[in-house]
């Protein structure tokens, strides 16, 4: 395990674990509210932040966080208040963010497309100790929100209207989810890259769903999957000299396929059991019990 002796690999592995925890922890709420691709949009917007960081000679991680948070709040407001063509507004935001990033980084004296590429697809050797500090602080925030407010976020993502009637501050919670997702994008940016961030938010959740019946199990399995694939991907990237982001995402998809294959016989067995159970209690009922049902038209 010589890679553990190298300072940059220690940083990369630490960042990988934090990404493996945070990305699925936020992603599960996005998947629950059927906004699986929101992370992708935020990733695009964050590129402008990276470009700004280079241009202003400040930390690209904090700049990206700032811009991603602003972008995600805008996306949430468009979702909540937008009328019919919300998708077009989102498209403008995505591509505007991406184009802005490319333009700004080329304008800056220190930035180059090679630099940008490490933010787009992730890179191990470039995770600095300042990056690690930023990543750790942001990750702590994400874990605090996603675990501490899980009952509230679950309710809001499950049935927004019902959540409002329970008196929850739904608007604030929606914004909090958006901001947390934006923060996660920037946490994951150094390791998996902006273009593949969304995959790590969604694929471990999709994989975990194959086996689980409850939200709690899905959450735990998704985070476990996240940590496993980020560590495995980072290690592979060290030994094989392949980009870490792509490796991690392909591992995640591998886990998804594996769990799906495992789940198929399990689901069949469950369905058989459910069928057997249903027959014993529903069998005596006639199929069309009410004659009045027949004369509705």
């Amino acid at each position: 395990m010589e890679m553990l002796d190298l300072a940059f690999m220690q940083r990369a592995l630490l960042a990988a674990v934090l990404v493996g925890i945070t990305a699925p922890a936020v992603g599960i709420y996005l998947v629950q509210r059927r906004q699986a691709l929101m992370g992708d949009g935020i990733g695009h917007v964050a590129m402008t932040g990276v470009g700004l960081g280079f241009l202003l000679n400040s930390s690209p991680v904090w700049m990206a966080t700032l811009v991603a948070v602003v972008g995600s709040v805008a996306m949430e407001l468009i979702r909540a208040y937008g009328k019919t063509r919300g998708d077009l507004a989102l498209a403008l935001l995505f591509y505007g963010g991406m184009a802005g990033g490319v333009l700004l980084i080329n304008l800056s004296p220190t930035g180059s497309n090679a630099n940008l590429s490490s933010y787009l697809f992730g890179s191990l050797s470039t995770v600095s100790s300042e990056d690690i500090t930023a990543i750790a602080i942001l990750a702590a925030f994400v874990v605090l929100v996603t675990v501490g407010l899980r009952r509230q976020l679950f309710a809001v993502s499950q049935d927004e209207e019902f959540a409002r009637v329970t008196g929850l501050p739904v608007r604030a919670l929606n914004l909090l989810i958006a901001v947390t997702a934006a923060v996660t994008v920037t946490v994951a940016m150094r390791v998996v890259g902006l273009l593949l961030v969304s995959a790590l938010m969604v694929v471990p959740v999709a994989a975990a769903q194959q086996l689980s019946k409850s939200f709690r199990t899905t959450f735990v399995l998704a985070v476990a999957t996240g940590i496993t694939v980020t560590l495995a991907g980072t290690a592979t990237s060290y030994y094989q000299d392949v980009p870490p982001g792509a490796t991690i995402v392909l591992y995640a998809i591998g886990v998804f396929v594996l769990l799906t294959l495992l789940a198929t016989p399990l689901a069949k067995r469950r369905a058989r059991a459910a069928e057997a159970g249903a027959e014993s209690c529903d069998a005596p009922l006639p199929p069309r019990p009410r004659t009045s049902d027949d004369v509705q038209v």
Partner: protein, 255 residues
Amino acid sequence: MTARESVISVRGATATLGARPVLRGVDLTVHRGEVVALLGANGSGKSTAVRSVIGQVPLTGGRIELFGTEQKRFRDWARVGYVPQRTTAASGVPATIREVVASGRLSRRRFGWLTKADKAAVEAAIDLVGLSDRAKDSVSALSGGQHQRVLIARALASEPELLIMDEPMAGVDLASQEILASTLREQVAGGTSVLLVLHELGPLEPLIDRAVVLRDGCVVHDGPPPEAVGQHALPGHDHVHPHAAGEPLRTGLLT
């Protein structure tokens, strides 16, 4: 003020969806312990009426009071159990019946951990709709009627004094309808007031004290439930009047 305390009081409510007026001066009162059915054809404004009562549709005129408090200032949402019109209790991620029902407890315990009493209330609500043996199952494995029972259990989890239900019987099989009717009977016997949207009285008929019938956003009947002499006598079917020629035919089936 009437002799009996009112839990819901709507006076002259008007509301629009887009440019279309949906409520055109609706008066609606539910007294404590009363079961009121809101009836009418599709598009008559019954869903909008209940959604305005719970503050989900803004009024353009008129006023609403809940438990004697102006609705805009009403904060005591744990006293209200709401069952929205849904065909499913599932979302993008698996969740068990217990997890979904527990979210109904948020109105009692908004932040912080669930106590023993909270958990007991959740179990009791699941038991009331007869799903105790399935509490650990994923809601996505349930039938349509069972989904509705989960949604009702979620509303009951806060031990509300007032139940507001939007078409709780839509798409529900007979077995579930009977269970829902008996659940509701128990609640009413325990003093719960109920406002429910229905498009036919069905197995709930014996429970209903009063029926309010809406047509085109106006109250056209407020009194004893219309007698159900065959299907066509039901208020959900009065839309076939010849003078409604300008309107699309609403069958009352596509709820």
